[in-house]
């Protein structure tokens, strides 16, 4: 890879690659009304570190085009006892990645005779996304607690980046709450403040994003383990809804 002349994103080239790679026949053979949309977790996922652990949250909608396939999905998938991943993008791709990484970490923890570090888990996820970057559509957040560095949140978006962040958002609904994050997040918040921040953020995104909806699933991960909270639709905090 040329450091002085790095590869830049070329929209035309991307389209050309798309055209030559996939058959355009399907668009002619299958009438529009019968074309099945891929199942995606068009979604909102939020993760935030606090002193002693992490709080992660997601909405519960899985859609295929305009049809809601599953209105109570669990997008908080455990990779190990104290490391979770949040899935956004294609449902099939993210489920496959989570299953493979769970296996890899299980094997690793048997080899090392101790639970794996959050960074290792995030790296496994990121490597899979990077290796199959042209084929996968997966944006994931890996968050958990380990003995070495405590609570950590790592973001592994589409192309195969790995970066640790104190707070991060993901999914289609995240675009509507970046402003909320910028305005309301402060470093060193308490556990309850973080919980309210995550829940409010998901609620606001659900209100505005069509691909996010249903209930909010939240998990609090610290040295004592995982506490899962499902906030059902009518219990979500009230926001001004036009």
């Amino acid at each position: 890879m040329d450091v002085l002349n790095p590869m830049t994103y070329d929209a035309e080239e991307d389209q050309l690659r798309d055209r030559t790679k996939y058959s355009q026949m399907d668009k002619h053979i299958i009438p529009v009304e019968f074309q099945q949309q891929p199942v995606s977790t068009g979604t909102t996922i939020v993760a935030v570190e606090y002193d002693g652990g992490v709080i992660i949250g997601a909405d519960t909608r899985t859609s295929a085009g305009t049809f809601v396939m599953n209105r109570f999905t669990d997008k908080l998938t455990p990779l190990t006892d104290q490391i979770f991943c949040l899935r956004s993008g294609s449902a099939a791709d993210t489920q496959a990645i989570a299953q493979v990484v769970t296996y890899q970490l299980d094997f690793l923890s048997a080899e090392m005779n101790e639970p794996p570090l959050v960074r290792i888990a995030a790296n496994c996820v990121r490597r899979m996304i990077y290796q199959y970057r042209d084929d996968f559509l997966a944006g994931m957040i890996v968050a958990g607690w380990d003995k070495k560095l405590g609570g950590q949140v790592y973001s592994c978006p589409l192309g195969g980046l790995l970066v640790r962040q104190p707070v991060t958002l993901g999914g289609s609904g995240s675009t509507y709450i970046w402003g909320y994050l910028d305005n309301n997040y402060r470093p060193n918040m308490t556990k309850d403040e973080c919980y309210d921040f995550v829940l409010k953020g998901i609620t606001l995104a659900i209100t505005r994003d069509g691909s996010s909806g249903g209930c909010a699933r939240i998990a609090i991960i610290n040295k004592d383990g995982v506490e899962r909270i499902d906030v059902l639709g009518n219990d979500l905090p009230k926001v001004f809804d036009l």
Binding site: S23, M69, A91, A92, Q95, A96
Partner: protein, 279 residues
């Protein structure tokens, strides 16, 4: 003939026809439209197990090809699959999975779990990246309880308390959404499944004929083939046979035809043939 080495056929899909299709497309030759074959399949959990129901219509265009197809496939004694989408893919993938599960059952010497079946088919479909058009509902009762899972062609799964799929799936789902409760009795569950299928077999053109239903619990498997026949042709209102003399005879001409017997063959007929219905 030059010494051509014998080529071993490589496994997996062969995409040569895709290249031919692209070439034809670029020359402006459009393919014919595909024919949709619809289906309605539904599954509901209740207190003791699961109830699964499917219609039995197979269409080719607007003609009912086969009105008594069984869309429920056996995977194991305690696990069944319902298939929608490409019929061939559903049939073959479930048959492949059935044989794999049988081997697994013999190897591990215990009843196969639903989660195992779902994981195996999920990983298989993911490998083929959505080219196998099998929309499956895997249903079963095992040591951990009763489960229903949907599997989509790209390999995404979801475990849910009730599912409906196929062209009439939306209609069925709305009926089930309205009346589903946790821990229903067997009669309530069967009635709900029947009503859900009735709604889609009467509103969706591509679903119909019969409602086939299985009730699966830890102890038993009840098969209702069919549970109900939908859309029975009603009795004719009138007698449409014409009386002799309705058509006026204008003239009669009788001619003797000369013929020779070339070949003689004697055959016994069994049973009587029904008269052909003209009306």
């Amino acid at each position: 003939m030059s010494g051509l080495a014998f080529e071993q056929p490589t496994g997996g899909f062969v995409f040569d026809n895709c290249r031919r299709n692209e070439l034809l497309l670029s020359n402006g030759v459009l393919p014919g439209k595909i024919h949709k074959t619809g289906t309605t399949i539904a599954a509901i959990t209740y207190k003791d197990g699961v109830v699964i129901a499917a219609d039995s219509r197979c269409t080719s265009g607007t003609i009912i090809f086969d009105d008594n197809v069984l869309k429920i496939h056996r995977l194991s004694d305690n696990i069944y699959a319902l298939g929608a989408g490409t019929a061939a893919d559903c049939d073959f993938q479930t048959r492949l999975l059935e044989s794999q599960l049988e081997l697994l059952k013999l190897n591990q010497d215990r009843q196969v779990r639903v989660a195992t079946a779902v994981r195996k088919i999920q990983q298989h479909l993911f490998r083929y990246q959505g080219h196998l058009g099998a929309y499956l509902i895997i249903v079963g009762v095992d040591v951990t309880g009763s489960h229903i899972a949907t599997v989509h062609p790209h390999g995404s799964i979801a475990f849910l308390p009730f599912v409906a799929s196929g062209s009439g799936g939306y209609t069925s789902l709305s009926v089930i959404e309205d009346r589903f409760k946790e821990n229903m009795t067997e009669e309530e569950a069967k009635q709900l499944a029947r009503d859900a299928l009735y709604a889609s077999t009467t509103t969706d053109l591509y679903s119909g004929s019969r409602i086939n239903m299985y009730v699966l619990t830890k102890e038993k498997l009840d098969k209702f083939l069919p549970y109900e026949v939908v859309g029975v042709r009603s009795d004719k209102q009138n007698d449409y046979t014409l009386a002799k003399g309705t058509t006026q005879v204008l003239s009669t001409n009788v001619k003797k035809i000369e013929f020779d017997i070339v070949n003689e063959k004697v055959k016994t007929t069994t049973g009587t043939h029904e008269a052909m219905e003209l009306a």
